[in-house]
Symmetry: C3
Subunit: 160 residues, 3 copies
């Protein structure tokens, strides 16, 4: 599979299934497939065993812009891991469509665009400009699940 | 109709059409249908006559987590009421796809996931695991219309 | 073309391609087309040459409600400019579906609905009630790119 070979050549390893902390329940699917669409729930960065990796807190206060960029990149790995579990093969994603990026931000933080680039750049590197391109929102929000610094959701087209 | 029978058996009643407070205008549709998709605008909890039910303010400060969970559940009833008015029959929803949940939150609130479960759990109870499952985002935002504590939007597949 | 004639008759001019400030990179497309859907990235108001027009800062503190309404209206012009560059002809948009509006807001701001009406009202004026109608979310967020006061994303149906 082409995408997984690229991940391997980049030295990137997909994390395990997301594990929520005690007391937090996920009444949703990480990836919802219907026809030629996959709807991807909000993912944050995960450790190898699927625990929230953070870093946690507010970008530019508790988390540097570079750390937040890396967290967005790791959110992409978490998304890819969920897609692989659901689709079987990451090559089934034929087009990235829309990416919704949320940054745990203080009022007035202006660098949300660059932070979410950590996600987009990895997707573009793996899928190329044709399949990988996507429209995007990158906004700063008051709070994110488990206080992680970046959460990213998406919609993609898949082959049947 | 199966879904409405289930609502009745649970003792749940759908609210009337949303009424906005004086001075606030809604230049949009509560449900936009196109082909086999219905796009559902952000809904908060409503009273029986369609007025904003709240509770109002910040979750964990003005509104308890349990109250916010119930408000998310009532947001689901408001969404179902709008779907019924637009589609005629709630059984026409063949698959829930994506749910976007917004919690009126103070910086650092970490329980947005559990709050939005109030919406997801009711949808799953009514529609079952196949049709009811959905991907989801649950983020904490600085402000919501009429200062309600939870607003939820969604996209669903419908039969023609 | 009908929509562009309407824009002209209203004295409205579409801005140039978005220019981001130095140091901010956009790793995404402003409009992503796939089949009969166009996914529109978050757009803020732009000056004629495509620079961020703002106004900047928090609505109700740094920016009045009327200024924010106008900024939402100008966000619509920025979106239409991106759609024209991608689609060639604005008449190819056959149906507006979902609009996601984000207001740069202080905690507790309650007027996000009226602000985003600036976008919706212009779309409805141009496209009419059939093609122009859409579902919508209007939430207040902690931070927006370049600290602009309003950002709006959307999904539309297009003719092939």
């Amino acid at each position: 599979m082409q995408i997984e070979e690229k991940l391997e050549s980049l030295g990137l390893v997909l994390p395990g299934p997301p594990k929520l902390p005690p007391g937090i329940t996920a009444s949703f699917e990480w990836v919802r497939v219907r026809g030629n669409r996959a709807y991807i729930a909000g993912h944050g960065a995960l450790t190898a065993d699927g625990a929230p990796a953070g870093p946690f807190g507010k970008v530019e206060q508790d988390v540097s812009l570079e750390e937040a960029y890396q967290s967005a990149r790791h959110s992409a790995l978490a998304v890819l891991a969920s897609l692989k579990r659901t689709l079987g093969d990451l090559d089934r994603v034929t087009a990235w469509l829309m990416v919704n990026g949320f940054v745990n931000a203080l009022p007035g933080t202006v660098q949300t665009t660059n932070v979410i680039n950590g996600f987009s750049n990895l997707i573009l590197e793996l899928y190329g400009a044709d399949a990988g391109q996507h429209a995007r929102v990158a906004v700063g929000v008051a709070a994110l699940p488990v206080n992680t610094c970046v959460v990213i959701a998406a919609e993609v087209e898949i082959s049947l």
